[in-house]
């Protein structure tokens, strides 16, 4: 990621930190160092205030109301769709469906498209680098319909086996569903190239962008994907937010997913017809407040410039890789060169990852240890469990240095 910071405003992490109230918190008497951003990110005042403002001033159900609060809520809720659409370069805000999280976005495709359109022996191609949320829904379809689920392999350096991928795309392949940026290795996959290859074979393409949209410029038209799944809570939005982008004609052609109020045009005892996009896929009262606050998070990213966020996180990543590789007893997985987001999974020789994370916690440092919801990848890499640190725009090199000191302490104690 050799992106230059060409933004008008200088990117000043120390100043940004003031926007995040939780960063003033202390843990075990030490200042919080939050390096678990791949799990979920912290929220700036702008997002918290958007929630507060919504509930204190506008809150009402949307769509059907002929009263002022309902009217305001509807406008604000639609605007949140527009903001999400603009962030990922989607020309039509109606192609954005709000969901609870990236997992629901992928399940929506599995149920509303897959369960209805796939047949026995149709193939879905994923990779060994997927998060469980982009594996288990397809296993469900395999168990129910008898589709075949194939996996692209991953090299030791953390790269997708692209030749292997091309070989696995057959005339039976109906969908290629691939993670944009790995939540374990940080690898950024060449999704545009993959989408091209898939489309040549007549397959659709879903991009799991849970770890890319928050950290990189992402453009669905440039990528050419048919679907894109994202988490709002991993990009400073509230928990309970996520979205699915789908090509409008594809979404139009699909059955609904959840059935009930607001997604219908007309209901009789005998049958129902569907509302227009995106409402057709948003049954029941949506998370109006959450979506509006996610809109505030998008504004925050947009004001900084996704390219500047990417450049800064790349700096952090370079620093962390440098500091960690000073120690031969730290084993880093998959950073074999090429573009990466700010995610590093590693193990400390002779120390269980849980114990590493436990010592870091005592120092106020939040990292994750475990299988990172990617057990097939972990099994393939022969590690099962690892420590992971993952960065966001409010992290600093000093925080990384503190983490490295704490890792050394864990090694001293348990190694």
């Amino acid at each position: 990621m050799e992106r230059a910071a060409q933004n008008k405003t200088v990117f000043d992490p120390l100043k940004l930190r003031e926007d995040f109230p939780i960063l003033r918190r202390r843990v075990h008497g030490k200042p919080l160092v939050y390096l678990d951003n791949a799990a979920t990110t912290q929220k700036p005042n702008a997002v918290i205030d958007a929630l507060k403002n919504y509930y204190e001033t506008h809150n009402a159900n949307i769509h059907r109301g002929v009263h002022t609060l309902s009217y305001e809520s509807t406008l604000m809720y639609e605007e949140a769709h527009e903001k999400a659409a603009r962030l990922i370069g989607a020309p039509d805000w109606r192609s954005i469906v709000f969901t609870r999280n990236a997992t629901e976005s992928i399940n929506l495709v599995a149920y509303a498209w897959g369960l209805r359109n796939l047949k026995k022996n149709d193939e879905v191609l994923i990779t060994l680098m997927e998060h469980h949320s982009n594996i288990v829904p397809w296993q469900m379809l395999r168990d129910r319909i008898g589709i075949r689920l194939n996996y692209v392999r991953v090299g030791r350096g953390g790269e997708l086996d692209l030749d292997g991928l091309r070989g696995l795309i057959t005339e039976r392949t109906r969908l290629v569903s691939v993670v944009h940026a790995s939540n374990v290795l940080g690898t950024i996959n060449p999704v545009k190239l993959i989408a091209d290859a898939a489309h040549k074979a007549g397959a659709l393409v879903l991009v799991d962008a849970a770890q890319s949209v928050p950290h990189l410029p992402v453009d669905v038209i440039d990528i050419g994907c048919d679907f894109l799944a994202a988490s709002g809570h991993k990009m400073m939005g509230p928990t309970g937010t996520g979205f699915l982008y789908g090509k409008p004609e594809l979404l139009e052609s699909m059955d609904p997913f959840l059935y009930g109020g607001d997604m219908i045009e007309k209901v009789t005892m005998e049958r129902s017809t569907w509302n227009e996009l995106p409402w057709k896929f948003e049954a029941g009262t949506p998370d109006i407040g959450g979506a509006i606050a996610l809109g505030a998070a998008v504004d925050y990213i947009t004001a900084l410039g996704p390219e500047n966020v990417a450049a800064y996180e790349d700096e952090l990543l370079g620093h962390a890789l440098g500091r960690l590789s000073e120690h031969e007893w730290i084993k880093i997985y998959g950073h074999g060169g090429g573009e990466r987001v700010g995610v590093i999974s590693f193990n400390v020789e002779g120390v269980h990852p849980h114990d590493v994370a436990g010592v870091l916690d005592e120092e106020g440092i939040a990292v994750r240890s475990g299988h990172h919801c990617a057990q097939p990848l972990m099994a393939d890499l022969g590690m099962d469990y690892a420590v992971r640190m993952s960065f966001y725009l409010y992290n600093t090199k000093e925080e990384i240095d503190l983490a490295v000191e704490a890792i050394k302490k864990a090694k001293r104690i348990f190694g």
């Binding site: 269980h352 990852p353 849980h354 436990g358 299988h371 099962d384 348990f414």
Partner: protein, 124 residues
């Protein structure tokens, strides 16, 4: 938390007591924490409601493995009733070092497995 506070835990982690299995155990139970991969199995030999012998096996972090080693070292000769009435704090305070709440699950895995082994036995 300075390194030396971990001494007792480390001793048990690196030199596990009562590691192994019991042929023909009266009670056996195994459980893990799927999210972190810790697994503990405990075999118990009983005599008239009293623990005559106990062995454990498993894998996992230092806290979970040391805790179960420490536990097994202290329960021989105790009655089933004693064990079932053990409180979480009893286990935590036996570790020689204050344990942060984030590690409670690890530290308490052993005693949970032992209780389940004895309960299963009592029920049958």
């Amino acid at each position: 938390m300075e390194p030396d506070q971990y001494e007792y835990i480390l001793d048990h982690y690196k030199n596990p007591r009562n590691y192994g299995k019991i042929e023909g155990a009266d009670a056996t139970y195994e459980e893990g924490i799927p999210s972190c991969g810790d697994v503990v199995r405990i075999d118990v030999k009983l005599n008239d409601g009293v623990i005559e012998d106990v062995k454990y096996s498993g894998t996992g972090c230092a806290i979970s493995q040391a805790s179960v080693s420490i536990l097994t070292d202290s329960v021989k000769g105790k009655s089933v009733r004693d064990i079932l009435s053990m409180k979480d704090e009893d286990m935590l305070s036996a570790l020689g070092k204050p344990i942060s709440p984030v590690r409670f699950k690890c530290a308490l895995l052993g005693v949970k497995v032992l209780k389940k082994a004895l309960l299963a036995k009592t029920a049958s």
